[in-house]
Symmetry: C2
Subunit: 584 residues, 2 copies
Amino acid sequence: MYRSHTCGELRASHINTEITLSGWVQKSRDKGFIVWVDLRDRYGITQLVFDEERTPKDMMEKAQKLGREFVIQVTGTVIERASKNMNLQTGDIEILVSKLDILNESLLPPFTIEDKTDGGEDIRMKYRYLDIRRNPVKNNLIFRHKVTQEVRNYLSKEGFIEVETPYLIKSTPEGARDFVVPSRMNEGQFYALPQSPQTFKQLLMVGGMDKYFQIAKCFRDEDLRADRQPEFTQIDCEMAFVEQEDILNAFEGLTRHLLKEVNGVEISEFPRMLYDDAMRLYGNDKPDIRFGMKFGELNDVAQHKDFGVFNDAELVIGFAVPGGNAYTRKEIDQLIDWVKRPQVGALGMIYSRCNDDGTYKSSVDKFYDQDDLAKWAEKTGAKAGDLVCVLSGPTNKVRAQLSALRMELAERLGLRKPDEFAPLWVMDFPLLEWDEETERFHAMHHPFTSPKPGQLELLKTNPAEVKANAYDLVLNGNEIGGGSIRIHDKNTQALMFDYLGFTEEEAKAQFGFLMDAFQYGAPPHGGLAFGLDRLVAILHGKETIRDFIAFPKNNSGRDVMIDAPAPLDDKQLQELSLKLNLKS
Amino acid sequence: MYRSHTCGELRASHINTEITLSGWVQKSRDKGFIVWVDLRDRYGITQLVFDEERTPKDMMEKAQKLGREFVIQVTGTVIERASKNMNLQTGDIEILVSKLDILNESLLPPFTIEDKTDGGEDIRMKYRYLDIRRNPVKNNLIFRHKVTQEVRNYLSKEGFIEVETPYLIKSTPEGARDFVVPSRMNEGQFYALPQSPQTFKQLLMVGGMDKYFQIAKCFRDEDLRADRQPEFTQIDCEMAFVEQEDILNAFEGLTRHLLKEVNGVEISEFPRMLYDDAMRLYGNDKPDIRFGMKFGELNDVAQHKDFGVFNDAELVIGFAVPGGNAYTRKEIDQLIDWVKRPQVGALGMIYSRCNDDGTYKSSVDKFYDQDDLAKWAEKTGAKAGDLVCVLSGPTNKVRAQLSALRMELAERLGLRKPDEFAPLWVMDFPLLEWDEETERFHAMHHPFTSPKPGQLELLKTNPAEVKANAYDLVLNGNEIGGGSIRIHDKNTQALMFDYLGFTEEEAKAQFGFLMDAFQYGAPPHGGLAFGLDRLVAILHGKETIRDFIAFPKNNSGRDVMIDAPAPLDDKQLQELSLKLNLKS
């Protein structure tokens, strides 16, 4: 038996008990006549003590030679600690060691195994197994486990069945971003790794499994970015015989459950907002509604004066910064520089100070009088002491720019509180979006999303106006889930593929099995998928997705990391060439 | 709202309630003046009734045209059923329909959606989404969900953390059977899909995550067989600071929990058996101990007579068939034919009848007298009325043959009862096994398995004798899990690789990252992996693994199945060739 207790467990009530602990040497302090060792395991830290008076000489010497991260086993007696450590749960006691075994030695670790480490990200990624020993990383992984376990508990209790769908699936001709997997069994043939279980879950609905979920890995062969992994985890859900309302209720329930069980937060309101309103009021389809600063559209009151910049703009739009009148001229200039950065891309920013005496002072006083500026304040809800920030330009661009400014200022003002949670449904997304590159409309969500009732006909005449039965779940300004009511009859699905520019052959080759299935009594159905990686990060606070993945993909240290792709040897390449029916 | 209740929910207490149901038309009986429709959903079947008297004419006509597997929604009143159906939970009531909507039509399904279907396996695999509508398949998937949920509940309660390990990992030079995945990001480089999370879980142990589990997909690029899928699911577990005893206790607990929660069975005994004893007594490393029929070795009492077949054999071995003396000569001849089938491969079988009067009658009476045969009976535990079956030959072969016969007879005698559960630990497996093909020793489990204390030295002198700290969990004659205490220091691991014939370079290339990790304070650790697919099948009874997989790989219907590999189109192949750095 390696241990009778863990290193997080012993308290004053254990004093005089003989115990055995195992763990890692966190640190040791050697005063010559006395040696203290902090012993660490997953559960905490316990102080060990060796001293000249009570410890045999050979053990004393052994203790003095213990290096950081040595793995040891000790037996000893729990004794009261002379100077208590209030920061440690085991701080009332220490262990007078009677037996010391070194289970494994350790090289000096390349960075300190402390909450605040001296290691940079690259070295910590290279030695991820050492990074995991640190509390922040370890606790993140445990937190992720807790979230997934609560997801499963809740959905199981609600009658959802977790069904595993395959990872080796049929590669479809248009799946350009699929990872493909050559099959040894069938020369020249390939599996693909799924980008999501979408079509499988729809087949399960056709199969009558009317409440399905799965926590599944998904794969996209795209470039690595800071917060995008080629493999990621999805909480994938689907229901049959449901309307949008049923789905929103089901996953509102899940979200409330998670916030309660994981964060101890009870959500009182779970508002819904139309996509169009989200764009108009926040310039963003995933608004953070923990704070106001809603947009006011100023075309009516700012155009047709002599200010050409506004007159020429498609949209003039602003919002009020609470207390922003306190900003100095220099601070406002810095804000203007901030919106002009290439990442934001505004050409400039107009502002109007709302003075405490009810007057206004704007950067465009020569074009706008006090009455005009009063209307700006009214439209943006600005009060005395606020600052109205105004941008102008093409609608989509200027909304995105002002949204970036809103989020930046909220961050600076401390309005994005990590312990406050404001979920929101954003609904009625457009069915299609224009793709500049291919110069055609693409499905905004995916081609299985159903249009709003009665809007199918609009597809031909005014495709940009067609709204979908699609919804996103937003939490604190982050999209954590998205879904839709699906098309469930073959004819509508065929029509959709047609509108999206698929030939009949292409549609059949890519999705024929689904359309075939629709012929055998497909029920109405819809669903939702949560990005687990992001959900966990958002629930936890502010860390990046990678902090919650045990072995994330990383650009650095590729040659040593076990998660990196590697060249094949000659034999493997030869075998693979055969599989591919290629000649090398 | 598509339904107020499910089709499995309504009882006599609901009579006179107005309800709405949705589901599939299981069948309809049209008597002209009255139409009964069985409406089915995931939860059950409810009878709908339409009749001339109470149903409007147009609805009556609509009802008469409903085809099998049409998806409909009905509103109506729960009424008492004239002739109750005791076989149906909803058999006391029926629905007098006031509103009928056809949600989707259906082609005639290619096989009947009944518990006993008329569809063969190929057609059911091709239309798997229809097969899933059938109770046996649907219930299997729900059963699998229940098992996995109970696994997670139990392990979470016991402090295990589920950690996701990557699916896109580094391909290792000797990973001949890996699926490889070309990486778009890195031309000429490849990921591999993991055959198991083995090395990752060991890194997690080095990382201090001392109780880990994961229900993970594993991949092997091998030929498809009836009960082997190229992707399969594993319950993967690992613990640090544990001895073998701790691991056996932990997973004995899990097994007891599953049998109790899933099967309602309390296990009283959880015996352990040495591998050597299992082979000696049952000829098999996964004995079914729900029944006896243990082997007796007869060399002492059957050799050195005049029977050359036995004299020349390495092993003479037999067991007693309870009541087997009742077999006719013809039946025994059929048994002899059975063991001579190529799948078993025995050259013949000797038998001795144990008569009720205490005498014996054997097929080799001219070589053995009553005293000899009495010793056979004694060694095999045969009683009056039994039949002693004896085989001879090379030890390993003859044990396997006799084991096959034992299992066959137990099956015929009804001793393999599906509702009786007998778990068993088989322990102290050999560390190595001889591979005829490569003419060298291979790790029986994997190269991370630790030898029994003090046996490392034997590796050089007598490798076949070295036992490992390895154990299998056996349930009813099936291996459902296996694991070992791992090597946790770099030197022993290097020694193992050396003994297994790896050069230092090969070991470094393939497992360098693990051996590097071992330098930084690796704790003693060990673990276990359950094959979930098989575990679920065994707990459920007798079905094959494929019956518990939603979308299993199947040899038939490849061209239409979505789980099949497919050829890439020219563009994809071109892109892939670039990735591979190959010229086509």
